[in-house]
Every structure is written in structure tokens, then in C-alpha cells.
């Protein structure tokens, strides 16, 4: 688990957390996380409830500080640049590192506008119709909605809404897409579609996904990080490896208990 120090844009690691600690006020939620995220791979973060999976994920695009008011120690490198350097613009960070949330949250606007808005605010100058179509095709939603682009995004089913949210994230052409339990609010068929979609997307994007569904992590991801809370109730990554090793031959006893269902 030793990695070479990445060079700008050349390292195989897009994102890398080093000695990362995250605080809510005085409460330390996450401590000492080292986590590399490889380019064009899917990295899953698993672990029991309350172990700080989502907190860690949201630290990757500086979403935490907006709503929770968190403080951070250590660093997260994105293409070799520290995301938490005082000179870094969080808006710029979220532009490069997109996010899909646990509950589908389309804007109460038309399907078309849901996708076009993000591109527009980032000064997209090309053909908007083509961009919308392209994003909807990439998120495997085009055939279902091509005749009703003017309809409200809220009129879609839950699974469709979530794919619309993915399309919306694609429209600003991010490098990384963070997914916070993207299928937890969906039925099994919709979940399967999202998983297939992720396999499709990883050709062009790097994906980090938080999930509490172990089968999902085993099926869909290339790497898996196992998180657990320590004695001080702070979450940390206890094991990180290729997914099949985590699930077949974990080194840590706690990981083994968790993935075989003996946890708790």
C-alpha cells in the first residue's frame, strides 16, 4: 500500500487523502485516513452506519463545509494539488469533482433544464441540445425521456430521477463523480441499472461511491475501503485493497466479520 508521490496529471491516482481528519466543532468524526483513488476505476467506501463514510466522501469536493461547518486536518490531493489549500476555490473544486446524492434531488425544472443549467453557469458555449442528449445517453436515460424533455424532472420515477441527477453531473464534464449511496432509495431493478451505468461511466470518469450494500460494493467496484469507528468514536479506514481481496481474503479480522455478516 505504498504509492509513489503523484505528479501533476500524470499519476494514476486522481484523488488522494493523506492523514485526513475531519471535525464537527470539537467532535472528531474522521481520523487518519489515507486513501488513494485511481483514475478510471470505481472506489467503494463501505462500513457500518455512523462510521463517517459520507463525511469522508463529502470532504472530497468540499461539500461538508457548506452545510455542516466542518474543519479539516491533513490534506486531499487532487491531481497533485491540495484541495484544502487556502488559495483553492471550493466552487472550482465542485466543478471538477461532481456529486450524486443519496436521495434523487432533481431541480423542480424540466428534464432539459436540469442538465442545461449546470453547463450554462460554467459558460458552456456549444450546442446545448447535443450536450443534453449526450449526457442523457451516457446516463442511459435518453430513450426513456427523449419525447418529454420539457416535462418536470420530478415527474420521473425514482430510478430515472437518479439517472437524471447523474446526467446533470456529467453535463459540467467533471473528472471525478462522487456517489453517496446513490441506489439506497431505489428498488432492485433501478439499482441494477445504476450499477451497469457506473461500469459504463468509469471508462471516462473516476468514481467514488459510498454504499452500505456489500453486494453492491463487491459487484460494482474495483477497490474497496473499509471504514470503522475507533475507541474515540472517530471513523477511519482500517483496510484498503482491491475489491476481490477485501471480500475473499481480508487482512483485518474486523473487515472479515463485517463482510461475512458477523459484525455487531
Amino acid at each position: 500500500m505504498t504509492q509513489p508521490i503523484p505528479q501533476n496529471g500524470t499519476s494514476k491516482f486522481v484523488l488522494e487523502a493523506r492523514s485526513l481528519g475531519i471535525y464537527y466543532g470539537n467532535f472528531r468524526a474522521v481520523i487518519g485516513v489515507h486513501l488513494p483513488v485511481e483514475r478510471n476505476k470505481i472506489t467503494a467506501i463501505i462500513g457500518p452506519s455512523g462510521c463517517g463514510k459520507s463525511t469522508l466522501l463529502r470532504a472530497f469536493n468540499r461539500m461538508n463545509e457548506l452545510f455542516a461547518g466542518t474543519r479539516i486536518e491533513g490534506e486531499i490531493n487532487f491531481e497533485g494539488q491540495n484541495l484544502y489549500d487556502p488559495s483553492v476555490d471550493p466552487v472550482e473544486v465542485r466543478y471538477r469533482i461532481g456529486m450524486v446524492f443519496q436521495k434523487p434531488n432533481p431541480f423542480p425544472k424540466s428534464i432539459y433544464e436540469n442538465i442545461a443549467w449546470g453547463a450554462r453557469i460554467h459558460g458552456f458555449k456549444g450546442n446545448m441540445d447535443d450536450l443534453v442528449e449526450s449526457c442523457l445517453r451516457q446516463s442511459a436515460l435518453w430513450d426513456e425521456v427523449k419525447d418529454k424533455l420539457k416535462q418536470s424532472g420530478l415527474a420521473l420515477s425514482g430510478g430515472q430521477q437518479q439517472r437524471l441527477c447523474i446526467a446533470r453531473a456529467l453535463a459540467v464534464q467533471p473528472e471525478v463523480i462522487l456517489m453517496d449511496e446513490p441506489a439506497s432509495a431505489l428498488d432492485p431493478i433501478a439499482t441494477l441499472k445504476i450499477e451497469e451505468l457506473m461500469q459504463e461511466l468509469k471508462k471516462n470518469y473516476t468514481i467514488v461511491i459510498v454504499t452500505h450494500n456489500m453486494q453492491q460494493a463487491a459487484r460494482a467496484s474495483d477497490y474497496t475501503a473499509m471504514m470503522m469507528i475507533n475507541d474515540e468514536r472517530a471513523g477511519t479506514v482500517i483496510e484498503f485493497d482491491e475489491t476481490n481481496r477485501i471480500f475473499t481474503n481480508p487482512k483485518d479480522k474486523r473487515t472479515e466479520d463485517y463482510v461475512t455478516g458477523r459484525f455487531g
Binding site: 469536493n61 461539500m63 457548506l66 452545510f67 466552487v91 472550482e92 473544486v93 465542485r94 466543478y95 471538477r96 461532481g98 456529486m99 450524486v100 446524492f101 436521495k103 434531488n105 432533481p106 431541480f107 423542480p108 443549467w117 449546470g118 453557469i121 460554467h122 420530478l154 441527477c165 446533470r168 453531473a169 453535463a171 459540467v172 467533471p174
Partner: protein, 423 residues
């Protein structure tokens, strides 16, 4: 050591045990009595509302007995009754009956050649015929004691005419204010209310919504922002008359050059001070500002957090998020709250009395720097007069005001229902 009371024996149906005086029946009786008391208070409230509305309607319709100073019949020329005379004939009549000074003054106000026939006729009625109300009855006695009223009038005022009138008429709404109750109207007051409210909205809406956005989206939890929030909550409870006094000192006196239009070189010749529509509008603006802020805050708070997250998640800036998602989704709520605040402003009387509403003006407001009167001011003035006929005019004005407020509130409710099922 305390001895334990034996456990109560199992209760049989309808019979009470010796240890407990359960007395379900008695307790239910008391419950029933109190239920009736609660219902009675509710009914009392409803009765109060109904009594209020009936009282107003009662005042706005009914018999009026009036005498003419000069019998219109005596003004007929060549067998043509006054009502059918042409404009030219009426002008001749005015010239012959009025002093030349009074006639010239009327001509100077607005040349007779420019006046319509209806206008000239109105002048004839007001200046020559001079109807005078001698007695007024409310709707209820008019309906129930019509015969007695007729007898009474015939005895007391043999020359008087008796007529059943609605004080609220199209003429009443379109006529300017007049010193005679029968020929008065609320046109000046309606226009005054509209002008005033426009400045209230122009002033309070942007600042109010801006403040709400600041407090909900930008303000962190520090002492300054807590003070701002507490201050707004407190201002919402300050009596309206205090705002009137503030308006008098600030807008009428200190900012007189602005509110009288002096700095724009637009001084209305009829006003030489700051007691203008602009001063009134700004005063009411200060008054409703906290209400608009509090309502808008609630509307903004109702926009789900997930929407903001979605927007930030694709790299939108704060203002892009607020402008494109928060404001559009909060707007129906903001507008509803603003309409309610505006209807409060339309009904306000006390602050405008203090700011200096004019007691008698008969010309329409033409600029923010005009003198003003409003519907509530008109109601206040007419209610305060001892003559019954003016109280009837006040009742009719109340109906105008209530209809205005009712339609405003109805539109607020429609807006609320139309947009309430978004999420």
C-alpha cells in the same frame, strides 16, 4: 412503616370499586359542560364577526331624507327640467345664480368649455340646488319601519324627499371627496391608497427579500446576526403609531427636501412640506418591512436543502444557487407573505394620521409629492363626524376597503394553493 392499601378488586361493568370514586358519569357531565363552554366561545367569536359585518352593511344602505335649498323644479327653463338641460343652459344658470367671483373661480379651476355636461351638472347640484340631508336611517329600520319613517318625515320636514339609497354606488367610488355627504366619494382616497402602497412595496419588498436571503443563506450564527434577527422580531411587535411618529420626524421633517420633491425641483404647489404620498409610503414601508422579512424567511427556509446541495454539487456559486433555485422556489411563498403584509399596510390608519394625511382634498394625487388621503383615513374622518350621513359614507367606504382587502387575500390564498404541491 406505611401499610399498603390492598390492590383494587377487578372492576365490574358500570360499578365502581370502594377504593376509587371513579364516577365516570359525573366526569363526563363536567366534560360536556366544558365542551359547551368551548363551543360557546367559538360561537361568540363568530357572532362578533357577523355582527361587525352586519353593522357595516346596516350603515351603508337605508332611507335618506333630504331637502334642497333651491327646488330643482324651480330651475326648469322653458319647461325643460334641470336634468334635461344642455351644458350651455347649465352654464348660463350657474352664471346667473352664483356671484361673479365664485363663477370666475370655478372657471379658473377648470374652464367650463373643457368640462363635461355631467361635471357642470354636478356643480349646479352642489352650488345651487344644495341638497342637504336632514335625516338618515340604517338598513334595518328602513326595512322594518318604512311606513313610520314616511309619516315622521312628512310631519317634521314637509319639503324633504325620502329616498332609499345605497351609499355604495359606482358614483361613490368615482367621485372625489366633497363637503356634502350625499355628493361625496372615495376616488381621491382610493387613488391615494394605491399611490401610497406602490411606494411602500417599492421600498419594502427589495429590502425585505434581501434581508431574508441574507439571514437565511449568508448569515452565520454570530452575535451581529443574532441581534439583527432579534431586532426584526421585535420591530414586528412595535405599535404602528410609533412608526407614524418616526415617519413624522424622519420622512416629513428631516427628509423634507426629498419627500416634498424639493431636491428634484418638483414641488407640488399645493404642498409646502413633507406630508406627501412618498413620506406616507416610506412610513408604511418601515412598518411592513419586518413582516415581509419574517414571511420571506419562512418561504426560503421551506426550500429543501437537497436542492442547494444539488446545485453546489455541480460547482455553482452561492449566488447562482440562490438566484436559480432558492428564489424561484421560494417566490410563491414570498409573494403570499408580501400580499398579506401589503393588505396590512392598506388598512393602516394611525401612522398616516400622525404623518399628516390631509383632512379634505378633492383633487387626485398626481405625483409622489402630492398631499394624500387614503381609504382608512377617510373612514376615520367620516366616522369621527357627528352627522349620521357621514357615518353612512364611512360604512360604504369600509365596504370598499374590505372588498379590496378580501380580493388581495383571496389572491394570496390562490397563489399559496397553486404552488403548494411542488415537492
Amino acid at each position: 412503616m406505611k401499610t399498603l392499601t390492598p390492590a383494587p378488586s377487578p372492576k365490574g361493568r358500570g360499578e365502581s370499586t370502594t377504593e376509587y370514586n371513579v364516577n365516570i358519569e359525573g366526569r363526563n357531565r363536567i366534560g360536556l359542560v366544558w365542551t359547551l363552554i368551548f363551543q360557546a366561545s367559538t360561537i361568540a367569536g363568530i357572532i362578533a364577526l357577523i355582527a361587525l359585518l352586519i353593522n357595516i352593511v346596516d350603515g351603508a344602505f337605508g332611507y335618506v331624507a333630504y331637502e334642497a335649498k333651491v327646488d330643482p323644479a324651480s330651475l326648469a327653463v322653458d319647461g325643460i327640467s334641470l336634468e334635461e338641460q344642455s351644458k350651455e343652459q347649465l352654464v348660463v344658470l350657474l352664471k346667473s345664480k352664483l356671484s361673479s367671483g365664485a363663477f370666475n373661480k370655478l372657471d379658473k379651476d377648470k374652464p367650463f368649455t373643457d368640462r363635461s355636461r355631467a361635471d357642470v351638472y354636478q356643480v349646479v347640484i352642489e352650488r345651487i340646488v344644495k341638497y342637504k340631508v336632514v335625516e338618515v336611517w340604517n338598513l334595518w329600520p328602513s326595512l322594518t319601519q318604512g311606513a313610520e319613517i314616511r309619516v315622521e318625515i312628512a310631519e317634521k320636514y314637509p319639503n324633504a324627499q325620502l329616498k332609499f339609497v345605497s351609499w355604495l354606488t359606482a358614483d361613490f367610488i368615482t367621485r372625489p371627496q366633497s363637503s356634502e355627504a350625499v355628493s361625496t366619494g372615495v376616488r381621491t382616497a382610493i387613488l391615494g391608497s394605491f399611490w401610497t402602497i406602490i411606494f411602500t412595496i417599492l421600498f419594502a419588498f427589495p429590502i425585505g427579500v434581501g434581508a431574508a436571503i441574507y439571514l437565511e443563506e449568508y448569515a452565520t450564527d454570530n452575535w451581529l446576526n443574532r441581534i439583527i434577527q432579534t431586532n426584526i422580531n421585535n420591530l414586528a411587535g412595535v405599535p404602528s403609531i410609533v412608526y407614524g411618529i418616526l415617519g413624522l420626524a424622519l420622512f416629513v421633517r428631516a427628509l423634507e427636501p426629498l419627500t416634498s420633491g424639493q431636491i428634484f425641483g418638483l414641488v407640488d404647489p399645493t404642498t409646502a412640506n413633507g406630508r406627501t404620498i412618498l413620506a406616507a409610503g416610506l412610513t408604511l414601508g418601515l412598518l411592513v418591512l419586518p413582516i415581509i422579512i419574517i414571511n420571506a424567511q419562512e418561504a426560503i427556509r421551506a426550500v429543501p436543502q437537497s436542492l442547494r446541495k444539488a446545485s453546489y454539487g455541480i460547482g455553482a456559486t452561492k449566488w447562482q444557487t440562490i438566484w436559480s433555485h432558492v428564489i424561484p422556489n421560494a417566490m410563491p411563498g414570498i409573494l403570499t407573505g408580501t400580499i398579506l403584509a401589503v393588505s396590512r399596510a392598506i388598512g393602516e390608519t394611525a401612522p398616516l394620521v400622525v404623518v399628516g394625511a390631509s383632512t379634505a382634498i378633492s383633487f387626485d394625487p398626481t405625483s409622489p409629492f402630492s398631499k394624500f388621503t387614503t381609504l382608512p383615513i377617510q373612514i376615520y374622518q367620516w366616522t369621527s363626524r357627528p352627522q349620521a350621513e357621514f357615518r353612512s359614507a364611512a360604512a360604504a367606504t369600509i365596504l370598499v376597503l374590505l372588498i379590496m382587502l378580501l380580493s388581495l387575500n383571496a389572491s394570496a390564498i390562490l397563489l399559496r394553493n397553486r404552488f403548494s404541491r411542488r415537492y
